[in-house]
Symmetry: D3
Subunit: 240 residues, 6 copies
């Protein structure tokens, strides 16, 4: 098997994490997984949604969008159509859930962090890139909250990263790009903490069911990839 | 550990599949997983969505809803609020995807099957009950298509069923009801074919990440439960 | 004239009122008028809408919906289309208005009762079945409020029931089913209290105007039918 | 009993029907029932909605709206809120149904008439004024269709008019204005053809049920009022 | 060049300003620019939008709509389509901005004036007619606020009026009607105060760019027209 | 007067036009006016909207959006709110109109160009930057259409550019950044062709009207700025 990009089966694309990409957001990271480019802006707002007030805990949530021409053919603008599509909703819920599962919301105090993940250019793996970039943006935003003395402890003690893995032409491959993704027999997204803790595992058969053995192989390859992503996140944050 | 319901850790709730529950739909199944009751109505429509015309393949899709008072406190009616919530969208996409992954859409010809899964009473596990009931409703609907000579082959050669599994008070338990679900440390939904093929695996950490070992245990327990569900589906269809 | 169902001109369909049909709602009634089946769930919420606060009076309102495949051909799901249709709005306003007209809202105190009427299977007369079933569900919900000492008096001193009547093949017939309803020359829905008080009278010509005499005949036949419904409501509530 | 306006119990307000009120519409009538002023514009469009094509029959429908400051306190603009309210939907369905019941849609050929009833100033009875004015506007629009040879026969052989009647301070009064309407014990709208045929009868109890006797009195008073309206419609059309 | 209406190049249409056109609004003006007729109703509401509270300043805003058959062919009703079109939004923002720029919002105190401009009949220039009529309606509304002692000073010290000017068949013409407007090479709307102060200047090329010289000519002609409009506003208000 | 940025009154910010910024769009330009950064992606679609078919002419249109955190405080995402705001609609209509006015739509043939202008970072002047960048993106997109032989002539014979000018602390300043824009006494946007032809002139008083003299000064300063922008556009396109 030859991957369209020439990569090895367990090889990530070139990953870049550029901090302070825009000037207004408390955390602003452009994350690149090869040609996939997502701008992750973390906003800090004091206070929490009404249903959580007075509990002393914070909230982290996410919104996701694709620029209409981030893709090969233009997609209708969701703002113009008047609603977010099902895929958008699914992805933004995943990003928010992943960040919350890794965070200590009590340490956050009654503050809210909203991460906007906007896809500038898409080439497969926008949700995994979003989670990986959003984590770094949240760290920067938390750091500003910490500087103001608004935190009650360490909110994120471990990095969170995500990667896709799939079965392409019968073999397990890591970090699928669009040509692979659109021809994969199975597709899995995995979100993990540094310590190896699993946050989300989402495996989906495309045309045919996959076997338990394939599932285990995918899981193993994904873990290797995420370890690499955690290192890159820490380098970007000068924590390595 | 004692489950609130007194069930064994790997014990399903009482499962019922009542066919022909309403008179209009081509397939109509009331599925009960204990106190969770979902009405699954399969509708056959000739033709396929515009973007698929002329390809000789069919389409299977699903919609999901909860009656406002299917739950302990009343939820606002989605039709009145003017949009489906994120959770609804996520679930109906999962149901449709699961059914399609198990089906031979070419054998379906240019016909569409829409399965409406409406929750009459909720007590945890509505999405897994929906998939399990929807499969039976689709079989009945396909049978009517077959009687008219409109199929080109066997569309569903294996049953599809789904179950949840989670970590409750530190232990892996099967088929969570609401009191367990709302206190679980991790939650996983698994969709499988009779032959053991995996269609969807969705594991989610609730407050803390889960370990690889816990994940493997959940997977194993889930598979046992699904085997039992496949038997019940076939009994209901007089195929066993 | 022969009715499609073989019923006499002034004969109701078989009526069933099943209380406690679901477990969460304060009042839960499955009402059946022949093959028409509507689930009426009454929810009690403390407090009233903002514009009524501080007046010491309660509020009763209703919402109505049809499951997409409650009908012979599938109707689009209103939640998916993003709005409730005109017919839905008209019916739910009628149900709420009918219940309020029969109730003493001062006796209710500052509490709200919302009745969800969801049509499981439709065969004509869903709005009259809804009102008839909703009344029983409200009685059960009021009884729970009363047990908590939250009522200031008797809210519903008389049952409210509704029936349709129409002109089918030139003759006045009671409680039209779908085959009659779709071929009626005129159609009338009447809502009455036990004591004979009129709450709503809605007569509609379908293709041609109807005469005053026909109108009087319809009114008379409807009243007989409603007397019977009131008896069945009281039987269901063990009040007879 | 003294009516706030000083009118006799069975006396209409001053009624005016001004044809050709605007220049673009095929039929344009300003109808005034006292201070209630509604502009009824009938538009002719060739063709019918998709579901009716090829059947050789036409369609008549209506839309209704109130200018935001047609009322004593400003109502939010429905276009700005993004949806039509329940009352609006109910009224425009009533107007359309009333006109269709009186018309011979086969004689109309495959043409559509849309009547826009927009309330310029409201003082009670906007729906009955709308129907009464809309009928005249439709006659003018039909006349233009007839001049072009596009009709297959007489579409409207009788005028359609509507009036309200209610119980105010215990007495039956005709054509309620706003001060009466907001204090009525019962309220009834009746739509009739010239020949005495009934098209719609909608009686509604406000706080308490009304008796059969009251209902009969209201019906009788309404009929007298409508006879007068039919005369005024024909005068306006120079048909008397 | 001959204008379709036979007017001189710098001649306004017949302008009428009828005050107290409806009875409920605090200011109600029917403005006519030839066959263009717009009803401008000014509503006074105590208080200001939330984001302005406590600043001691008032707010003036506007909403705009066209009756569906104010135009030659029927436009879909915005309330039925569920949203206001781009042109509507643009115009109502212009009207509100124009009135605010001429007003002393501090003198208004914490009160809000909403002007509804609803087009009864359109023949070009509805936005300029709206501004011109809205100003008069606001003066009447302010006068009622003043009578109650709710103003802190003079809110509108100068009239605001607006007119269109364009290039039609190569020549600059004032106050374009629809036949001119739909064939103009350039189109400009100008909003001015009595003292000659400019509030808005919006010039738009239709098919080809216009020259600076043409722009200056349009500006000069527009100013003459607006002087005339200011006089008519003051006559209508008996201030001249 | 000292500008916050230290610029001269008639000095543009640093302008950058980066072509081929993303890889999918037929024309993709990142335009920077100082810290204002807008991504302008031009998409070519064969065919035109339905109402234009068969006329042999093309269509150019635009959509505009701001990333939620392109601004100092986070703005709600329009896709999540379910509608585009008034300002968004106004701006995207302006961009589309400006491009069309400069283009020969007959030379375009029955093709459509859609330009998406998405603001990555905002610091005043996003609409003028959008127009200036969109023009360059359209040139690139046209070039691809031309290479395929799909054009019937020269569509854009002149560059189109736009700039803002305003009165800040009593003086006319060019190309306002956010600190100036939010304190300007008047604000004007001007769109021009290379040859000096005017496409749009939109001047708006903020708090007080502006004089004719001020208006003329603003116009003069704007023209100088636009000349410079035209040069930069041609440099970016290697046409200078």
């Amino acid at each position: 098997m030859q991957r369209p990009s020439g990569r090895l089966a367990n090889q990530l694309r070139t990953i870049k994490l550029t901090r302070n990409y825009t000037k207004h957001a408390e955390g602003s990271v452009l994350v690149e997984f090869g040609d996939t480019k997502v701008l992750c802006n973390a906003t800090v707002e004091e206070g929490v949604p009404r249903f959580m007030r007075g509990e002393g805990r914070g909230w982290i949530t996410a919104e996701y969008g694709m620029l209409p021409r981030s893709t090969g053919s233009r997609m209708g603008r969701e703002a113009a159509r008047g609603k977010q599509g099902g895929r958008t909703v699914e992805i933004q819920r995943l990003i928010g859930r992943s960040l919350r599962a890794a965070a200590d919301l009590e340490a956050l105090g009654e503050n809210t962090i909203i991460v906007d993940c906007d896809v500038i250019q898409a080439d497969g793996g926008t949700r995994t890139a979003s989670i990986t970039g959003a984590c770094v943006a949240v760290v920067d935003a938390l750091s500003k909250l910490g500087d103001k003395g608004l935190l009650k402890g360490t909110v994120l003690s471990e990095m969170v990263a995500a990667v896709s893995v799939g079965i392409y032409e019968g073999e397990v491959v890591l970090d699928l790009d669009y040509p692979e993704d659109s021809n994969a027999q199975a597709d899995m997204n995995i979100v993990m903490c540094e310590g190896g803790g699993l946050i989300e595992v989402q495996g989906t058969a495309e045309e045919n069911p996959f076997t338990n053995e394939q599932f285990m192989q995918m899981l193993a390859v994904a873990k290797e990839g995420i370890d690499e992503l955690h290192k890159l996140q820490k380098q970007a944050l000068d924590l390595s």
